[in-house]
């Protein structure tokens, strides 16, 4: 598959249940402290309390990946389907990528002394399967998209709490939360 794969994250559907994150961890057998996907709680505002909306983020498989640019040993490659692939065998654990990534995606594993991150389940994609997080999401809030064909008008490139996308052009889009009518006490 050619193009640019990425994630569409529907914040309106996401219930912050962490199943995506845990499905990733379970299926990829990650260390306890390593989280390839993280469900971040969002700060509240007048229409929603803190920690009631979430940003479920993994690697954003950027068009212009900073991790790849700074890696001294070329552990990162951009596959033709757009996946930013990190090769653990080449990694020397120098952590340059950790400093460079605007989204704090690469994580240092203190056991292996190497960096690791989400490779968008590259082997599963080759078999025509979805990444584990997409299949594990209870409410279908995460979708695998190919930017060559993607034209959902409701999708946003920027969202509060997500770093400026202009540096690396991350392959992730968001559908924002649409609050309903609320009759609340004490607000």
């Amino acid at each position: 598959m050619k193009g640019q794969l990425g994630f569409l994250v529907d914040i309106d559907k996401c219930i912050g249940c962490h199943s995506c994150e845990m499905a990733c961890k379970n299926q990829n057998q990650l260390d306890p402290e390593i989280r390839w996907r993280i469900v971040y709680p969002m700060k509240g505002n007048s229409s929603v309390p803190t920690e009631r909306c979430f940003l479920s983020l993994a690697c954003n498989h950027c068009e212009k990946p900073e991790c790849m640019r700074v890696c001294p040993v070329r552990a990162y490659t951009k596959l033709e389907n757009g996946i930013v692939f990190h090769d653990k065998n080449r990694c020397i654990g120098c952590r340059m990528c950790i400093m460079a990534c605007p989204y704090q995606v690469p994580q240092f594993n203190s056991n292996t002394k190497k960096v690791e991150k989400c490779n968008l389940c590259a082997e599963r994609i080759e078999q025509g399967l979805n990444p584990f997080c997409v299949d594990g999401c209870i409410t279908d809030a995460i979708t695998l998209i190919n930017f060559n064909e993607f034209n959902e008008i409701k999708a946003e490139r920027e969202i509060e709490g997500f770093p400026n996308p202009n540096i690396t052009n991350p392959s992730v889009r968001f559908i924002p939360y649409k609050p309903g009518v609320q009759i609340r006490r004490d607000v």
């Binding site: 057998q29 990650l30 260390d31 306890p32 594993n109 056991n111 292996t112």
Partner: protein, 213 residues
Amino acid sequence: MRLMPLDQKSNLLDDLEKRFQTYLFFSQYYAGKADPPILSWFYHEMDSFLGEHPLIIQGLDLLHEVQGEDSTAFRYDFNRLFVGPGKLLAPPYESAYLNQDGLVMQEETLSVRKYYRTAGLEISALGREPDDHIVFQLEFICYLLSQEAQALNGVEDDHINYLELYRKFFAEHLMIWVPKHTRDVQVHSQTSACKAMGLLLEGFLETEKQALN
């Protein structure tokens, strides 16, 4: 006295015997078969060929005190460290130390299982106890040493190079995790007996590591 390198043929059987008895004793200890009187006997009988690694000297000095120690206190301490029912203070499983998630029955356990199978063995409690429990590992080494001795005596005619298997297993498994484990024993043991046995095991392995190199 230092343990002689294993390839000096003249002493080989003797050296095998000492190693065998030492491993056997530690495996019996971890299987819960020892108590302060036995450990105290160990002190008197065994001290002379355990070598002079500082940890061994330290361990033997501590073991000297064991004679008067209360058997039940030792037993509770032993269980807190190695058996349960609470969170184990010094888990006797290789995987508990090496597995990235601290889980048993993962890659590390299965790698040990593979070693046993290379020698034609598997644990009787397959699938029920983690294969990498220290008792199994020590007993496995006893088996390898015994097979080697029988081969030397011409009893066994086998293609497996048991000594080589022992060296590899020692380097790739025992030595990788047991020192971490014995350090946990040092930190958490409340009785001289458990502490001493931890020191002795670590000292013995250090000595053996040098002997094998």
